[in-house]
Symmetry: C2
Subunit: 319 residues, 2 copies
């Protein structure tokens, strides 16, 4: 018996076959065709799931061996109705994706937000196995999050809970895309780190940061400050020190509100070295935690992009 998980991304559509032990046993990927409309994209996903069963490394009888299908969407879903409510970079808003799948598939179809699916993946198969509650935070283009509590996804009364990037940490601060000022993702995301790096470069023309990005501000990435700091650049070290404080402020709020047993950190930023990211973050969060006797473990997520596939596949167990 297997589960199919689909990770819908702006670049690729990825489907994976997950066994009952939460192992990803096979995967298949196609580019997300940006010229297609919702119907075309969904037909691509359906075709991908069929080929995954019939042509993948583990070939199975798709009508008998698939227990459930789960789809992780970069946006807001209504799992009860089977619809995608809103996506930002893909033309999938207001689509009944479940109905489309069920013209081909007999297995039940579950929908989840991609950050929630990543949290579920880390909970079922990654760094957060056995932890309750388990929180996942993704430091990427934005700041995403998800929580599993009592083995179930915690996502509020209408599926939009754990939008941790839109917790307000700096009241009155930077304007966010959501319309509020001072959202955590304006300070703690990779995008924010890039802004902070550029600002520091503009006031420090001698910094090594300029060499690392070839003198071109457009080439500044999330890793640029980490690279320069590891080569001893004091400006970059200062940027990172402030950035870690911004990240820690949100993590402290999560700890004091949710007291999770673990917070797994994923996203591009989480690839930085322990010395430059996780170790100093742990110290800051520990110092700011309200309950000094019971510490939330802060750790790197371990599944990378697979978390979203595994979590989507196991939505049926978790909602």
């Amino acid at each position: 018996m297997y589960y199919i998980g689909i990770d819908v991304g702006g670049t690729n559509l990825v489907a994976g076959l997950v066994d009952t032990g939460a192992h990803l046993v096979s995967r298949m990927s196609i580019p997300a065709d940006r010229t297609k409309d919702a119907d075309g994209l969904i037909q691509d996903m359906i075709g991908l799931t069929v080929r995954l069963c019939e042509e993948g490394e583990t070939r199975i009888d798709r009508q008998y061996d698939i227990k459930a299908i789960g789809i992780g969407i970069p946006g807001q879903v209504d799992n009860r109705a089977g619809t995608i409510v809103k996506t930002v970079n893909m033309p999938l808003s207001n689509t009944n994706i479940r109905a489309a799948f069920q013209t081909v598939w007999g297995a039940p179809v579950f929908l989840g937000n991609d950050a929630n699916c990543a949290a579920l993946g880390e909970y079922w198969a990654g760094a957060a196995r056995g932890c309750d509650p388990a929180v996942m935070v993704t430091l990427g283009t934005g700041v995403g999050g998800g929580m599993v509590s009592g083995g179930r996804l915690f996502d509020g009364f209408a599926g939009s809970g754990m939008e941790v990037g839109h917790m307000i940490t700096h009241a009155g601060g930077r304007l966010c895309t959501c319309g509020n000022r001072g959202c955590w993702e304006q300070y703690g995301s990779a995008t924010a780190l890039i802004h902070q790096t550029i600002e520091a470069m503009e006031s420090h023309p001698d910094s090594l940061l300029w060499q690392i990005c070839g003198g071109d501000l457009k080439k500044v990435e999330g890793r640029t400050a980490f690279d320069a700091a590891s080569q001893g650049d004091a400006v970059a070290s200062g940027v990172l020190e402030r950035y870690r404080e911004h990240v820690a402020v949100g993590l402290i709020s999560l700890v004091n509100m949710l007291q999770p047993e673990i917070i797994c950190i994923g996203g591009g930023i989480s690839n930085a070295s322990d010395e430059m990211l996780m170790n100093p973050l742990r110290k800051l969060v520990l110092a700011g935690s309200y309950d000094k006797g019971n510490h939330t473990r802060i750790t790197r997520a371990t599944l990378g992009n697979d978390a979203g596939i595994i979590g989507a596949a196991l939505l049926c167990r978790s909602i």
Copy 2:
């Protein structure tokens, strides 16, 4: 069949008899004797529960009719061990209160934090009945909170979750008693409003605020600004406008993180008129909510001090 709930406060010890329909059918109260040590206070509580059954309005056979006892503590408890871990203003830290009760009582004894008990009370019998998840926020000396999700108390892996007052909303801001800077309770509590009122008075010697507190800054209370604003004082209105923004910032974070079906607001501040508090707060929170299609209801808590008694009594159903 009844439950006993005990609300342990710095001023009074209150015990109540709660029926299976979550109604408070009888209550009894004694002053908390500040000269007594932990053992003396606990003996007072035990005596109170015995008298509640034998002498209260509803007399019952205390060994047969009591299903469970719950105790709400202003501090941190370890329900598994039956101990009070830490209290701030009472000498009850590191006390096995369950063991003491069980020398007299056969019924099981449950422990909870007082803010969590208030949330449970509003969930079982007050404004949050039937709401899932339900969040309670208390704007008092500090800012307290609790959440009920799936009918159970959500309090983290070690019982200290939902310390919402120590969510950081103003990074780098006012120093909090917890050691962090910018905790919500430094901006949104009644204590914070008093500070904000005094600051405004110091720069506006003509404000009506001075008359209302008889020219004595020590007489400024949480309600002072509300009283002055309702008499048309512009300075007080300005204080309240900023205060509501501070409260809203934390509520928006709660909505975006937890997406509760309801947030009940209790504590002294919640007694202000709808026009001065709840209506403008609702507008601010609505505008700041990430999910514009599904709104968290923001409402006044309805049970007042009874919430803590009812919630404590029903801890056995909720943890």
